[in-house]
Every structure is written in structure tokens, then in C-alpha cells.
């Protein structure tokens, strides 16, 4: 296959960026999208041009490192598929493809296709955990958890933290990411003790960095793990409840 790429190049956060056009010939349809970028980079190095920087690591769709806008779609055209798992057989020979970094205020650009997603870590830091010091856990089978509950918790926990939901959102909102973690923990019996503080704290940090959700639903479509926006509804319900519950606790103390 022969492909024409328009790739966003930008040396650093303060440098001026621009699209550059590259012709990539001899692409195999067995290649993953990232292997096609490897091929481009190999050729760029041979020509004396700096290779395109992009984040990637496991190339199995689980680490969440990779992710670029491909023709305006986060992770490209294949549903439920991270960029590293997208293969060139999904494109036509002779296709022209536009490749951009995630574009969101919450994800400042680092270089070329690489952005800074540390705001996601800050959201987790605000409460995306169950407080249990090592060694203090009871036997794992002490609390039975209905299979259905465990399964839904897993569906939410499957989030890989890639940021496609934010990139897809017209508002640059991170509600699907945040809701996935909140729902995972709030659904489980172990997560009840901190349910209301967790929800309020995580939502507040989320709003420091990201826009507001207006139910476009683009995030669910872009999510490589196809996490449902139902979890956003769950988070919103818990957030409203948390506002009352947390207040009551304050008045009691």
C-alpha cells in the first residue's frame, strides 16, 4: 500500500506547530498503524530528518500510552480499538491520513504527537483508591460479591487511561475517565466507606483541568474499551448524593 500522511510536527510546547506531508510507500496491510509510523521514522532518520515523536509502549492495547487523532477520530476508525491495535488493512491503498495529537486544554502538548496526561494521575490521586494499608486486608472470600456486580465493576475498571474520551469530547471533558474509576470503586462493597468523599474529591479535581460534560456521547464511541456512558450517569447521581451526605457528616462533627 502507498499512504500519504499529514502529520502534526511541533518541537515543543512553546514552538510553532504545523502539518507536514509525508509519502509512505510500501506499507504492508499486516502492519499496525504504529508500525507504519515506525517505517516512516526509519526513513526520516535515513534522510536526516528527526523522527516523529509519539507515545506507545505495550502495543497490545492495554497500557494506554498510545493514542493519536486519525482523520479526526481518536484511535482511528475501528470501534473499540486503540491505535496500536489498528491495522493498515483498515485503510484503502492510496489513502491520505491526517495524524494529530490529542487536542485538549487538559493535555498540554509535549512534542509532535505526545501530550502530557498527568492530570489523569491527579484525578486518581484525589480519591481513586480504597484506603487499605498493606497487611490489613481480611480474607478475600469474607465478603461475597455477586457475579453481576463484579462484572459491572470490571467493565468500568477496564479503562486504560489513554485520554481518547477527552480528545473526542467537544468540551474536552474527562467525565468518562473519572466516572469509570468512581463507578468501579463505588459499585464494590469494599469501596463504600469512602464512596461520598471519593466522588466529590475526584469530580472537583477533574473540573480543575477539564471541561464540562453535555452528554454528546462521543467519549463512549472513541473509547478503546467501549466503556459505557451509563457510568457518567452513575457518577452524577453519586455526586449529587455526595453533596448532601458529605454536608451532613460535617454538621454532625
Amino acid at each position: 500500500m502507498n499512504i500519504t500522511l499529514q502529520v502534526w510536527r511541533q518541537e515543543g510546547p512553546d514552538a510553532r506547530g504545523e502539518f507536514k506531508t509525508y509519502q509512505v510507500d510500501g506499507v504492508s496491510d499486516e502492519m499496525s498503524f504504529l508500525e507504519m509510523l515506525d517505517l516512516l521514522n526509519e526513513r526520516l532518520v535515513n534522510q536526516g530528518e528527526e523522527p516523529v515523536a509519539f507515545d506507545h509502549d505495550c502495543r497490545e492495547g492495554i497500557c494506554g500510552s498510545c493514542g493519536v487523532m486519525i482523520d479526526g477520530q481518536p484511535h482511528g476508525p475501528q470501534l473499540g480499538t486503540a491505535t496500536c491495535q489498528l491495522h493498515m488493512r483498515k485503510f484503502e491503498d492510496g489513502a491520505s491520513i491526517v495524524v494529530e495529537p490529542w487536542r485538549a486544554t487538559g493535555f498540554p502538548l509535549v512534542r509532535d504527537l505526545v501530550v502530557d496526561r498527568s492530570s489523569f494521575d491527579q484525578i486518581i490521586e484525589a480519591g481513586g483508591y480504597i484506603s487499605v494499608d498493606t497487611g490489613s486486608a481480611p480474607d478475600a472470600n469474607l465478603i461475597p460479591i455477586p457475579k453481576g456486580v463484579a462484572d459491572i465493576a470490571f467493565d468500568a475498571a477496564a479503562c486504560i487511561g489513554c485520554g481518547a474520551c477527552v480528545a473526542a469530547c467537544p468540551n474536552g471533558a474527562a467525565n468518562l475517565f473519572t466516572a469509570a474509576k468512581i463507578s468501579h470503586l463505588n459499585l464494590l462493597p469494599q469501596g463504600q466507606a469512602e464512596r461520598w468523599t471519593r466522588t466529590e474529591n475526584m469530580v472537583e479535581i477533574m473540573e480543575d483541568y477539564f471541561g464540562s460534560c453535555t452528554n454528546h456521547g462521543e467519549c463512549e464511541k472513541a473509547c478503546p474499551k467501549q466503556i459505557s456512558i451509563d457510568f457518567i450517569a452513575m457518577m452524577n447521581a453519586d455526586f449529587v448524593k455526595a453533596k448532601f451526605k458529605n454536608r451532613r457528616l460535617v454538621s454532625q462533627s
Binding site: V45, R59, D121, Y129, D133, T134, A140, N141
Partner: protein, 640 residues
């Protein structure tokens, strides 16, 4: 031999050693813990769990990762599960049986006391992870489900669909972020450790490069913990993530830490075969698939029919045929070599005839498609995305690929390397898996080391340094190494050669896979030992790294990693040459039975090879830790 290898295995019966040791170790009282700074490199299962646990205890912890977030570490890609001797299923499991299986599975090249401790701690790991909210698979009654795995005849593997590593890592990551929030742990992302600083024979800190702006900085602490994973990427094509590398432990090795059993590498039997020359990595399909999948090849060498059109009498279910007791669940090394034999003898399948079939038709007929979907749907989807084939209707094609490295830095029972104050945990050390790791044991070991072992053993070392300040990071010993790192980085940028870093990496990988891969022999290893240094010299003079140090430069990052792989590769070949036996993942063609089974030599090789850096990568010095088996009787591993 110049090193004194004291494994510090505690006295007493095997089942009491760990408890006795914890009691005999000195403690640091809670209010003194904050006076000790511990630097942890890596945030995979071992690093994140250690950082979280040490932070909870009150130590002053700093943790470094080259990723943009601690959650990206390659532990996340582990699919199948984690072993624990819970015996929830009443099938005769026990701590002793897990211990026994692991020692046997490791082909009797691991340290008994460490393995027993691992089996003991396995119970606590499941409790801890469940309490953190790790959504393990459950039965309808709400209790935890288990599956069986290679090398065991009991069901002791806990799992979370096909993403157990992800869920366990996210659990450890959440515990870590909780400590970051509390100010107990300081997190440095996109920061790569490039050297260990040793003063007066003790590890006193590290030198780190910021991958975004190129700043090289010194960090000092009372102890340094390396949790930087394995080195399968020396083969270029492996199941490891693209950035997984040996640099941290290799540079520690160059500063005096002995490197143990570098040739013990594991080739995982169930990976998707390479499809073309541009392949950048190989994708593993969880070993758990072997529970329900049956492995076969066509009996006819030139079989041209599609898999489903080949009748049963023309199929060779070779694992079931040769190993009736374990069948498709033989350990990884055995399964891998059997596949290689089939492909080498012309029975390979697929367009490049480089795979064998892993077939689910029997399971679908027996249990129904829904049951198979429930267990493996995400793996089947992944397979489909990569190959464009549907494993519900067409058998998967699989082939072995480099996956895990049992070798690593030598550590004593406390997980301390031969450099006092320098620890290695998780895959980065050598300790628990001998010559072959059983499936679902990597997650167990990483979390055992990080959550339970290191937090209990590190105090004994630190107790000597109470009220002693860490060596200041502007001490000349730090500035000297900072300068060395800076000039090394400049070296890559100014070489101005003709070939990319990846080109050299691929060439190195080819040599290693051919001569130091699944099968090794003396002449091949000798050839590798002459080819690798030559290619390394070429790398030094002809590599091309464009761009600057001062902005994100991924070629530069890779250049230093590949440079270290060249040295490691030589150590692996030297080690493989020295070990004149076949054991576990190390198969020397000279040492096999008439039927092609591995022949171990316990009389001469029941030792750990701990190699010491001499300044010449091709001539490290061998130190031996002899392995004493007081509990497990050494037998020929038989899975027949």
C-alpha cells in the same frame, strides 16, 4: 571468585524460616522511619506496591518511572492470572504444594527458602488486592473463581478476565497514588535512571535524566530499590513493551551488583506468529487459553487444506500425545520446544508456516460458545484485531516468543544485591523462578516482593544508619557520575553515523534469537560471542541519533538502552556456554535425551551463576551460589 555470596537464608525448618527471619530482623521504629529516604526505580507491580507499602510504613519515598504515568508499566499487559495457595476449591492445594510446584517447575535452579516464602505470602496478596477493589472473577455465589494453569494440577489461579495484570497494577497504582496524595511518596514521571551511585561500597543514590528537557540530576537516599523488570527485548522481537529495557539493572551491574543466570530466559508458547518483516513486537495470547484450547498440527507435512477441513485422523495433538498426564498444560519451556520441533519439521501452519494451531472447537462444543466468551472474549477480540481471523470459527495460530527473564540481579534472602543498600525486586531480580517460571507466578512474585517482603527486610539494613544523613547529592561522587552520564548522552548525539538505532537493535535480536534463544549449542554461542562485539563496535561508530538532548528525543532514549543490550547479550551467551546442561528455558542441544527431552546435570550445575562485571562485557567473572535442596527431591521433570 571474588564475591562473597551470602544468601542469608535463615535457619530452621522451611515453613518457619520467614516468620523467624521477620522476628530476628531489626526494626526501625515508626517515628524514625521518616528519617530514611528510599529511592525506588520503576512503577510496575513490584515498584508500585513497594512504594505504596513503604510510604504507608512512614518512610520517605521517591519513585521514578520513564513512563508518563506509573500506570503504564508493562505488568499491565499480563493476562492470565495470579497464583495463590488458597485451596478455595478443595482440590488438595497447599502452601507446600505451590512451593513444590514452583521449585519443580523452575527445574531445581531456584532457592528453596525464597520460593517457600513466595508461596506463603501468596495468600496475603489475594486478600490485599481484593480489599483494594481488584475485580477478580467470581462465581455466582459471589466467591472468587479460579482456573488452572501450566505446570500445576490444581486450580489456584485467580484472574480478572484476560486482564489480571492490568487490574492488579491499577490496584498497586491506586495505593501508590494514595501515598502521593498524602505526601509520603514523591513521584517523578518521564524520568529515566541512568546510573547508580556507590560510595564506600554502599548504594547512596541514583542519577536520572528527565526525558522531556534532558536535565541530568542526582538524587540521594539511604537505599535504592530497582524494580525495572526484565530484559527480553534483547531479542528485539518479544512480548515485552517497546520501552522495556535492561539499562537500570545493567548499570547497577557495572557498579558492582552481580548478575545472576542471565541465560535463563523464557520463551512463551502462545504468541501470535510474526506476520512480516516490519513486525515491531509479538503479542502474547494468555497461557490460560491452553485450559480450553487444544494444540495441534497437521500430520502431513505439505497439508494444504484449511484447518477446519482437516479431519481428526489427520491432526496431531502432539502435546496430548507425548505428555498425556499434563497434556496441553505442560510448562512453558516444554510446550515451546515441542512447537518448535513441529514447525522445524515442516508441520507449521499459516501463510508463513511459522505457527501451530490452538483450537477451541472442542471447548465450544462441550461448554457452549457463551462459556468460552465469558472466559476469553477480550483475548479473542485482540486476536481478531491483529490477524483478522475469528478464533470462534478458525483455530488460532500461535508460536513461541521471548517473554520473561528468570535471570536478573543476584539478591540475598532480603532481596539485597551484592551492593549493600541496593535492592532488586520483581522480574529485575533472579530469585524465585529458577530456570523456568510457571504461568501466573510473575504477578505473584512482583507483588510478594513489593507488598510483603521488601517492607519487612529493608529495616534490618537501615537500622545501622539511624540518624545518619544521606550523602548529599552535590557530593563529588554524584557530580562525577552526572558528568559521565551527560558525556555519554552527548556521545550518541555526536556520533553522526549512518544507521538508525532500531536497525542495530533488530540485528542484535536476530543473532540472539538464533544462537541464544529456545535452543543453544556451543558453536552457535561462540559465533554469537564473536558477532555481537563486532556489531557493537559498529553501533558505537555508525549509529545516527538526530535532534537534541534538551527536548523529548525518543531515538536518544533507545540508543542508550540498545547500547546496554549489547553488553547484556554477551553476558547471556557466556552464561549459556558455561552451563553445560539443559534446564528449564535453557536448552543446550548437546544435552538432550534420545527423545529430545532436556537433560539436567545436578552434580555439576546445581548452582546460581552470579557474574561479576570486570570491565570487559565478554569476560565477566563467575561466582557460584550452590543450591541446597533440603525439602524437594531432585528428580527429572516429567510431565508425561
Amino acid at each position: 571468585m571474588t564475591l562473597q555470596l551470602n544468601a542469608k537464608v535463615p535457619e530452621g525448618p522451611i515453613a518457619d524460616k520467614w516468620e523467624n527471619h521477620k522476628f530476628d530482623s531489626r526494626l526501625v521504629n515508626p517515628s524514625n522511619k521518616r528519617k530514611f529516604k528510599i529511592l525506588i526505580i520503576g512503577t510496575g507491580l513490584a515498584g508500585a506496591s513497594a512504594a505504596a507499602s513503604l510510604g504507608e510504613l512512614g518512610y520517605d519515598v521517591e519513585v521514578f518511572t520513564f513512563h508518563d504515568s506509573p500506570r503504564r508499566a508493562h505488568s499491565i499487559a499480563a493476562q492470565g492470572g495470579i497464583n495463590a495457595a488458597k485451596n478455595y476449591h478443595n482440590d488438595g492445594d497447599s502452601i507446600y504444594r505451590l512451593f513444590y510446584d514452583t521449585v519443580k517447575g523452575g527445574d531445581y535452579r531456584s532457592r528453596e527458602a525464597n520460593v517457600h516464602r513466595l508461596a506463603e505470602v501468596s495468600l496475603n496478596i489475594i486478600d490485599q488486592a481484593t480489599a483494594q477493589g481488584v475485580p477478580f472473577a467470581r462465581e455466582y455465589g459471589g466467591l472468587l473463581d479460579n482456573r488452572s494453569f501450566g505446570g500445576a494440577q490444581v486450580s489456584r489461579t485467580f484472574y480478572a478476565r484476560g486482564a489480571t495484570g492490568q487490574q492488579l497494577l491499577l490496584g498497586a497504582y491506586s495505593a501508590l497514588m494514595r501515598q502521593v496524595d498524602r505526601g509520603k511518596v514523591k513521584l517523578h514521571t518521564r524520568s529515566e535512571m541512568l546510573d547508580v551511585v556507590v560510595k564506600d561500597g554502599r548504594a547512596v543514590g541514583v542519577v536520572v535524566r528527565d526525558l522531556v528537557n534532558g536535565d541530568v540530576t542526582a538524587h540521594s537516599g539511604h537505599a535504592v530499590v530497582l524494580a525495572t523488570g526484565g530484559y527480553s527485548n534483547v531479542f528485539y522481537l518479544s512480548t515485552n513493551a517497546m520501552a522495556s529495557n535492561v539499562t537500570a539493572i545493567w548499570r547497577a551491574h557495572r557498579r558492582g551488583a552481580a548478575f545472576a543466570n542471565p541465560c535463563f530466559t523464557q520463551i512463551h508458547p502462545t504468541c501470535i506468529p510474526a506476520s512480516d518483516e516490519f513486525q515491531s513486537k509479538l503479542t502474547l495470547m494468555s497461557e490460560s487459553l491452553r485450559n480450553d484450547g487444544r494444540i495441534w498440527v497437521p500430520k502431513n507435512v505439505n497439508e494444504s487444506r484449511a484447518a477446519n477441513e482437516i479431519p481428526a485422523e489427520d491432526r496431531d495433538y502432539y502435546l496430548e500425545r507425548v505428555y498425556p498426564a499434563f497434556g496441553n498444560l505442560v510448562p512453558r519451556d516444554v510446550a515451546s520446544r515441542a512447537s518448535k520441533r513441529m514447525v522445524d519439521s515442516g508441520h507449521g501452519v499459516g501463510p508463513l508456516r511459522n505457527g501451530v494451531y490452538l483450537d477451541f472447537m472442542s471447548a465450544i462444543e462441550r461448554d457452549g460458545r457463551a462459556s468460552v466468551e465469558d472466559k476469553y472474549s477480550n483475548l479473542f477480540e485482540m486476536y481478531n484485531r491483529i490477524t483478522d481471523e475469528d478464533p470462534y470459527n478458525v483455530p488460532m495460530r500461535i508460536y513461541p516468543a521471548p517473554h520473561y527473564t528468570m535471570g536478573g540481579l543476584w539478591v540475598d534472602y532480603n532481596l539485597m544485591t551484592t551492593v549493600p543498600g541496593l535492592y532488586a525486586i520483581g522480574e529485575a531480580n533472579f530469585s524465585d523462578h529458577g530456570a523456568n517460571r510457571l504461568g501466573a507466578s510473575a504477578l505473584m512474585q512482583g507483588l510478594s516482593d513489593g507488598y510483603f517482603v521488601l517492607p519487612s527486610t529493608i529495616g534490618d539494613y537501615l537500622a545501622d544508619y539511624l540518624n545518619t544523613d544521606a550523602v548529599p547529592s552535590d557530593d563529588p561522587v554524584f557530580t562525577k557520575i552526572e558528568d559521565e552520564v551527560v558525556s555519554q548522552v552527548d556521545g550518541y548525539l555526536t556520533t553522526d553515523g549512518r544507521r538508525s538505532v532500531d536497525w542495530f537493535h533488530k540485528e542484535l535480536g536476530k543473532i540472539m534469537l538464533e544462537h541464544c534463544g529456545m535452543v543453544r549449542n556451543e558453536s552457535g554461542l561462540q559465533k554469537a560471542l564473536s558477532d555481537i562485539p563486532a556489531l557493537h563496535e559498529e553501533f558505537k561508530s555508525d549509529t545516527r541519533v538526530l535532534g537534541r538532548n534538551e527536548s523529548l528525543n525518543q531515538s536518544l532514549e533507545r540508543a542508550q538502552r540498545v547500547d546496554d543490550f549489547f553488553e547484556l547479550a554477551q553476558a547471556m551467551c557466556v552464561d549459556a556456554l558455561d552451563r553445560e546442561e539443559s534446564c528449564g528455558g535453557h536448552f543446550r542441544e548437546e544435552h538432550q535425551s534420545g527423545e529430545g527431552e532436556a537433560m539436567r546435570d545436578d552434580e555439576h550445575y546445581a548452582y546460581v551463576s552470579a557474574w561479576e562485571w570486570t570491565g570487559d562485557a565478554a569476560a565477566p567473572e563467575l561466582n557460584k551460589e550452590s543450591l541446597d535442596f533440603e525439602n524437594v527431591e531432585l528428580t527429572t521433570r516429567s510431565y508425561k
